[in-house]
Amino acid sequence: MPETPKCTDEILVQKSLEDVTFFGELVDRFEQKLKYYILRISSFSEMEAEEILQEVFVKVWKNLREFDGSVKFSSWIYRIAHNETISAFRKSQSRGEKEQVSLDEELFCIPSGELDIPTSLDQKLTAPLVHRVLNGLPKEYREVLVLKFLEDKSYEEISDILKKPMGTVATLINRAKKSFRDSAERQNITF
């Protein structure tokens, strides 16, 4: 596979369209991030997440010419990953499959100081609790909290990923934060 260490994602997209082998590098760049993202917003196992991920990259390849640079490539690829995960989740629900929740808790390490988590606390200690609270939240709240605090995306990026206006994203994040606090209180979880 050709080495392109200083290429931006956008240039790599152009190169991929000329030579499919460059697409492998795009896969490498986003594989881990997207896998974590899929695991954070769903309750799929790692193996299921990897299957979804493969479908995500095939879909990215099929739609690569749709990407026109009007949004960041990372936002565009996260959007596809998001849609594929939701689609896979619906399929699994229609098959009556139960949610799988035994995940690596470190995926839920929220930086201290965010979501009312005191800076003095160890992220590794709070991660299982964050995971438990997030798991009990409605899907749309969970999505925005994951994107904002675990994926560290800006409001504009979240808007592009979820295809929602920025004002709606801001409102959702505020409501989600309140819901997170309330849910934590109900479960007697204090950070």
Partner: protein, 262 residues
């Protein structure tokens, strides 16, 4: 599965199944398609608005005190419900179309709705002023079964002399304030308008189409209380579209607009 394996397996799948990226034109046409849906829906919404304006201006509000029936049923019978639903439906389709354009999701829903409403109302007024509303409604009534045009419904409302409503064309003006009226259902009526109030800014003439509120006094005799033109001349608030077709061809109304009673 390690990262190397995934990229390899993805490339392998792409090459094995000969998967190629969809052409850019597909996405361009898809975007154009959603814009077309938006524009077409705004236009159709505007047609709906123009017909609603037409329906409101066609409503004889002076009838309310004369019509029988409960207030609500009367209002409902006069409201252009079909066209309100038509407008709301196409506003929804316009919203859907815009939200599916490439960057449409960035615009808040209330702003999109506001934009759609403003465009539809402005275009609706334009459409009404150029006479499109009436033509569209007529074509619609001719081609859609069960749909009765506002004209048909209005004619029906005014063909009830037993309930004090009569409309038609003046055939003859006689002495002692008597006129002969050919009603729209082609009966000849003798109308006494000696004590009536005439809301017409010029003298009655043969050929005028009028509507009369009053009392039926004989088999084909009618005592008028008020007389109005069947379709009074009106101007739209933005620019004038006078409906001169309802005046006799040989004479136009005087410019001073005085109200005369005969």
């Amino acid at each position: 599965m390690n990262p190397q394996k995934l990229s390899e397996s993805v490339l392998k799948k792409i090459q094995k199944e000969n998967i190629t990226p969809t052409g850019r034109w597909y996405f361009i046409f898809k975007n154009i398609g959603f814009w077309a849906v938006f524009n077409l829906s705004v236009l159709l919404g505007a047609v709906g608005v123009s017909v609603i304006i037409f329906a409101v201006l066609e409503t004889d509000f002076d009838l309310f005190s004369h019509l029988r029936g409960s207030g609500w049923s009367l209002w409902l019978s006069l409201l252009p419900i079909f066209w309100l639903i038509f407008f709301v439906t196409f506003s929804g389709v316009a919203l859907w179309g815009m939200q599916h354009t490439r960057k449409g999701y960035r615009i808040p829903t209330f702003r999109l709705l506001g934009l759609n409403l403003i465009l539809s109302i402005v275009l609706g007024f334009v459409f009404y002023n150029v006479g499109g509303a009436e033509k569209f409604e007529t074509i619609f009534a001719e081609n859609v079964p069960l749909y009765k045009s506002f004209h048909q419904r209005r004619n029906t409302r005014w063909m009830h002399p037993e309930e004090g409503r009569l409309a038609g064309e003046i055939l003859e003006l006689r002495k002692n304030k008597i006129l002969i009226l050919n009603s729209f259902d082609r009966s000849t009526w003798t109308v006494d308008y000696g004590t009536s109030v005439i809301h017409i800014p010029f003298e009655l003439q043969k050929g005028h189409k009028i509507r009369v509120l009053g009392t039926q006094t004989g088999k084909k005799d009618f005592q008028a209380k008020t007389i109005d033109l069947w379709r009074p001349p009106r101007k739209m608030p933005f620019w004038g579209r006078e409906e001169r077709e309802f005046f006799p061809r040989e004479r136009k109304p005087p410019r001073d607009g005085r109200e005369k009673s005969l």
